[in-house]
Amino acid sequence: MGVSLYQVQKLLFDVNRDRQARARFLDERERLMTDYELTADERRAILETDFHTLYQMGVHSLLLVPLAATLGLSFPDYLAILRGTKP
């Protein structure tokens, strides 16, 4: 596992667990992202909450699904995005 994937997973871990990090994710996502060493592809995927790409990168699914629920995405829709059957 590359160090970079570690950082994007760390961001998601923090956002899922910490109320302040979650608020910053919702209100000032770009500033929050500067606290982590992310590649350009990771930055774009986090900015757009592109679950399909994040999963393809190797992010653990149990870091993605709580965030999907926080954003109001239904579980069937979340799965469809991961499967590439829904944009």
Partner: protein
């Protein structure tokens, strides 16, 4: 006293988060079995409940992922993933004196870490919610997730070491393992169920033959039961704590909409 109850059950977040998504023919056996488990837990009259649950990124990350961590605290809180499991956050009382005794007793044989600040995710909160219990809880969090999960036979050793301390303790103690069985959690393969694996594992679990699974190869486990299959670790710890006793299966129901082969079982500790 000795161990007054030994139970294990799936903790699929969908049970509380998406209760109406599966057809009733799938979901009702699970709800009925949890109701039966609740009755059995109450009949056992425990003073405290040890909950052996997998980690799901609620407490630990890849900077430090312990194999086993016991919660030594006056209280805990959960669920961390409240939007996902749709259970209101609440405080859960702990039991510091027994937790300390268990930590010291287990450490005689099995290395473990301890924490005074554990948070509970669906692994603990879904079962507590369905069992409607307000008992003090001692959590033992098991890495079934990432990094270096303990080999299955070490999870058995954990249960044996735990039981030795329980047998010397004056209060009534019950143990609940949560997780599994086969699942590919929140992944594109979600909904796939390893029926054959689940049935073989349950036969061993309630038949007092958990020893037949202690050297199960990691690759076979993942292929047959998915990444979520690693959660059989908590069931193995319960079986060992119960003295590899026989028991009864209260339900086994594959529920694709909850992504899990859902099982609920009770052993007769000996």
């Amino acid at each position: 006293m000795s161990l007054v109850g030994a139970f294990a059950a799936s903790h699929a977040p969908g049970i509380t988060g998406r209760p109406g998504l599966p057809p009733p023919a799938d979901s009702e056996p699970v709800f009925r079995a949890y109701a039966e488990l609740r009755a059995r837990l109450e009949a056992a009259r425990p003073d405290v409940l040890v909950v052996v649950s997998p980690e799901h990124w609620a407490n630990f990350f890849l900077d430090h992922m312990p194999s086993f961590c016991i919660g030594i605290g006056d209280e805990f809180w959960g669920p961390t993933d409240e939007e996902f499991v749709k259970i209101p956050r609440r405080r859960v009382p702990g039991h510091v004196r027994l937790a300390r005794a268990l930590a010291a007793g287990i450490a005689e044989d099995v290395d473990l870490s301890s924490s005074q600040e554990l948070a509970f995710d669906h692994g603990v909160m879904v079962p507590l919610h369905l069992l409607g219990t307000t008992l003090p809880v001692i959590p033992i969090i098991v890495n079934c997730l990432a990094g270096l999960p303990a080999p299955l036979h070490r999870c058995h050793a954990l249960g044996i070491a735990l039981r030795r301390t329980v047998d010397r303790w004056p209060e009534r103690v019950a143990i609940l393992g949560t997780g599994g069985l086969s699942h590919w959690p929140a992944m594109p393969e979600s909904g796939r169920i390893g029926l054959d694996f689940d049935r073989r594992f349950l036969d061993a679990f309630i038949g007092g033959r958990i020893d037949t699974f202690l050297r199960y190869p990691r690759e076979a486990l993942e292929a047959e039961a998915g990444p979520g299959g690693h959660e059989i670790r908590t069931w193995i710890t319960v079986a060992a704590a119960a003295g590899d006793a026989r028991g009864s299966l209260l339900a086994y129901q594959p529920v694709p909409a909850w992504s899990t082969g859902c099982a609920v079982a009770a052993l007769e500790p000996r």
